[in-house]
Amino acid sequence: MAEYLLVESQGRYAGPGSRDFLGDAERLAASGHTVTVLLIENGVTDGVGTGAGTGAGTGSDAVERLLEAGVRVWADGFSLEQRALAALLRPGVRRVGMDEVAEQLLRPAVQGVWH
């Protein structure tokens, strides 16, 4: 089984792409692969809020499903600070720094995909 670091950089404001990409993460996890999702740049918007008012199929709903599926979801602290969203991080999503991302990426077994 493979190990993935999937990086979502666009978020729900860029269109349906982030929802689809987080769906990719969900599918990989359901197939038994180990998946970590990193939300970065505008992608951190998928990791904040309660999901209320977002409607069906938004990025936040997709994050909720990932968390329920046991996928590790990270959010880049730098991006959260830039957007004044650090205090609104939803439960279950862990704030990380680029150092931790680099270390994860340098692990030989980990494959990275950037969206």
């Binding site: 918007t45 904040v48 809020g49 209320a52 730098f78 830039q82 957007r83 969203l85 939803r90």
Partner: protein, 130 residues
């Protein structure tokens, strides 16, 4: 329709450039236009509502090759400056709800929109997405 005599700028695309942009972001242009026009109004929607957060935390510093780059865009400081310089700032309430932003999250002086209060387009000389 109340004639504001002003122009309305709507900003919905946020965070367009970091290290390459620094001070010269969309609000830098808005600030200069506000000066030239003698006042204007800005509606923040989408992710741009975060420009109006009350959070006083400074924008992050970047550590690159021994340099501390502390000149990244600081939209919240820019909104404070725009308010001080007479610009009217609105933030779309639906976006605030989407983020789970509670009372006090919005900077004082920024007006949240509602069904009853929204920038009245016919009252403006022109409307532009920026």
């Amino acid at each position: 329709m109340a004639d504001t005599g002003r122009r309305l700028l709507i900003i919905e695309r946020a965070y367009r450039g970091g290290v390459e942009t620094q001070f010269a972001d969309v609000l830098y242009f808005a600030r200069e236009l506000n000066r030239q026009q003698g006042g204007l109004d800005i509606l923040l929607r989408g992710l741009a509502v975060t420009f109006a957060a009350a959070d006083p935390a400074p924008t992050p510093v970047l550590h690159l090759a021994g340099r501390e780059l502390d000149t990244l865009p600081d939209p919240r400081a820019a909104v404070r400056t725009l308010l001080a310089e007479g610009a009217g700032i609105w933030a779309q309430d639906g976006e605030l709800e989407r983020f789970g932003a509670g009372p006090g999250w919005l900077l004082e002086g920024v007006r949240p929109t509602s069904d009853a209060a929204f920038p009245d387009w016919p009252g403006y000389r022109s409307v532009h997405f920026l």
